[in-house]
């Protein structure tokens, strides 16, 4: 289903939960709504489902305005955060509920339910009740129940929040595969960036009710358009005095400019280890943390603390060691603007030094 949202707003009393959100979703895409808790993601999802009425703005399915359609008539499937399985019904009756509402024949219902039970790997559990299932199984039931009436849009509210960290990864892959197989347009809400990056075709970052950026995970990582997005995706350190860093002197020309530097933008080495010596800064190793597959290194450059990773293959560093620090690029921002800056010295090394 093709979905369009125009200038959506939602107020809860004085609280402006969703501000002027507009976007379009292509048929068949899997979208992740990502952002901090309480940022308005769930409100957007619930308005799409018709469980909440927008304060203003339009929601269009297939180009038709559905604002006034009750949830019963929108043709959507909704997977709730805590699954909201009907406690007094078996797995079978839960999945069959939406079909019974549609007054399908017993035969049809049976066939569809058994197909979904098989698809979701719940065979043999049809006659259990919700309290007799594990968290992962409950999620599968909720998924099968939502899919049973063949909705055109699947909405999932924090689908993995109530599941153990261990099986969460497993379930993510499973859900992505399932949705691809069924080929249904889906939107899921999450506050976990790893989850969004791994599962979604496209991510929408929501903060304080605003849509900050929409794009593929790679796009968002590479080209964050607002400081919030840059800070929210990936790891980073904020540097206030970026103008004093070698290669970023230009930044000092516009006062108040700060930089956001990711660990992977930083390279460190013992003196002489880095070729472009002119672009480096002197630093001191403060702490080392073994992270299983690499070292996490805490550095001090002047008074500024930076974080980077170092391969286990390279020479082992010790706290107190003097190192050269090369900052490849930084995400710069001030009150008016934000842009990505490459290290100027790295691109154009000074000839005098040779």
């Amino acid at each position: 289903m093709h979905i369009e949202v125009r200038n959506l707003n939602k107020n809860f009393g004085d609280f402006h939960a969703v501000r002027d959100v507009s976007f379009e979703i292509e048929k068949g895409h899997l979208i992740g709504l990502l952002g901090p808790s309480g940022g308005g993601k769930t409100s957007i999802l619930r308005m799409l489902a018709g469980l909440e009425t927008p304060s203003s703005g339009d929601i269009l399915f297939h180009g038709k305005r559905v604002n006034d359609l009750p949830p019963q008539e929108r043709g959507i499937g909704f997977v709730f955060q805590n699954y909201a399985l009907f406690k007094h019904m078996t797995v079978y009756d839960n999945i069959a509920f939406g079909l019974k509402v549609k007054k399908q024949s017993k035969e049809q219902i049976r066939e569809r339910v058994m197909y979904l039970v098989e698809l979701t790997g719940l065979k043999g559990f049809e006659h259990r009740y919700a309290h007799q299932l594990s968290g992962g199984q409950r999620q599968r039931v909720a998924f099968a129940r939502a899919l049973a009436p063949e909705p055109q849009l699947l909405l999932l509210d924090e689908p993995f929040a109530a599941i153990d960290a261990k099986i969460r990864t497993e379930l993510r892959t499973w859900l992505k595969e399932m949705i691809e197989r069924v080929g249904i347009t889906s939107i899921f809400v999450t506050h976990d960036q790893e989850e969004a990056i791994e599962v979604a075709d496209e991510i929408m970052i929501i903060s304080k009710g605003r849509l900050e950026q929409k794009g593929s995970p790679w796009d968002i990582y590479k080209n964050p358009q607002t400081p919030f997005v840059a800070g929210f995706i990936g790891e980073s350190t904020i540097v206030d005095n970026i103008g004093e860093f070698k290669g970023f002197e230009d930044a000092a020309s516009s006062p108040g400019t700060k930089a956001l530097i990711r660990p992977e933008y930083i390279e460190i080495g013992k003196p002489g280890e880095i070729k472009l010596a002119s672009a480096t800064l002197p630093g001191i190793v403060k702490h080392l943390h073994f992270r299983g597959s690499e070292w996490m290194v805490e550095l001090l450059v002047g008074d500024t603390k930076l974080i980077t990773y170092r391969s286990l293959e390279k020479e082992v560093l010790h706290p107190g060691d003097k190192v050269s620090v090369l900052v490849h690029r930084a995400y710069l921002f001030n009150d008016n603007d934000s842009w990505i800056a490459e290290n100027t010295l790295k691109v154009d090394p000074m000839p005098i030094h040779i």
């Binding site: 489902a49 509402v101 939502a146």
Partner: protein, 253 residues
């Protein structure tokens, strides 16, 4: 512990032994006295009617008080407990005054040929009054606990409001309705104070079991009183036991 035994176990054991103290035959005679079993049957019948009305009213009021916000809601919610706080004899008197032949309602009903006070309707009203809070108080926690998303799930699956109520909400309330109704029924069976004032106590017609027992005691026939008591007690115990079972099953889940 001793306190417990003396106060509770001993009296109950006492009444069972007393009713059988003269052997099986006198017990049987007391029970098979038509006035006795008519009183017991009448009590059951009227308690059932009162309970059914209570189930309906209680479900409705419990629902309204939890789900809707409207002026006066908190006041009404506190008033629910009034029958528990009010002496039952006062309750009986209130009903007598309100529905008696000299009152407006009583006069109106009398004009239509329906007599309320000293007849069955008054007994039902009295039972209704004293058992009023049971069903409401039993379903309120269930409704409060209930997850709103279960309801929403039903809506997104296409169920109408009515369908959602009957297939999702009602089954959640059902254990509460049933255990509340059981308690109300057993209280209805046992009620004395409110009923004795309004019932008229005509043997075989409006004489209910607890009043019959009282009459037997007054006319110095403790053995007969004990026999009917045993009958009523056993019934009440069975009900109490069932309620415990229902609750144990719920918490077990």
């Amino acid at each position: 512990m001793l306190y417990f035994v003396i106060l509770i176990i001993l009296p109950i054991a006492g009444i069972y032994t007393q009713s059988f103290s003269l052997g099986w035959n006198p017990f049987w005679e007391s029970i098979s006295d038509p006035l006795a079993w008519k009183a017991v049957l009448l009590t059951i019948k009227l308690a059932v009617i009162a309970t059914l009305i209570n189930m309906f009213l209680g479900t409705m009021i419990g629902w309204v008080l939890i789900r809707y916000r409207f002026p006066g809601r908190r006041l009404l919610n506190s008033l629910v407990d009034l029958p528990f706080a009010l002496p039952t004899a006062v309750g009986g008197l209130m009903i007598l005054l309100l529905l008696g032949p000299n009152s407006f309602v009583g006069g109106l009903a009398g004009g239509m040929g329906i007599e309320i006070v000293f007849h069955e309707p008054a007994i039902v009203v009295a039972m209704l009054f004293v058992t009023f809070p049971f069903v409401i108080r039993a379903i309120q926690p269930l409704l409060e606990e209930m997850d709103k998303s279960e309801e929403e799930a039903a809506y997104t699956l296409g169920a109408t409001r009515v369908k959602t109520f009957f297939s999702v909400i009602f089954p959640t309330m059902l254990p509460g309705i049933l255990s509340g109704a059981m308690l109300a029924f057993s209280r209805g069976l046992a009620e004395f104070g409110a009923v004795v004032l309004v019932a008229g106590n005509i043997p075989g017609k409006t004489l209910i079991a607890s009043v019959f027992i009282f009459g037997e005691i007054e006319s110095n026939n403790p053995q007969g009183a004990a026999a009917v008591s045993v009958l009523l007690l056993t019934l009440s115990f069975l009900i109490l036991w069932t309620v415990n079972l229902i609750q144990a099953r719920r918490t077990g889940q």
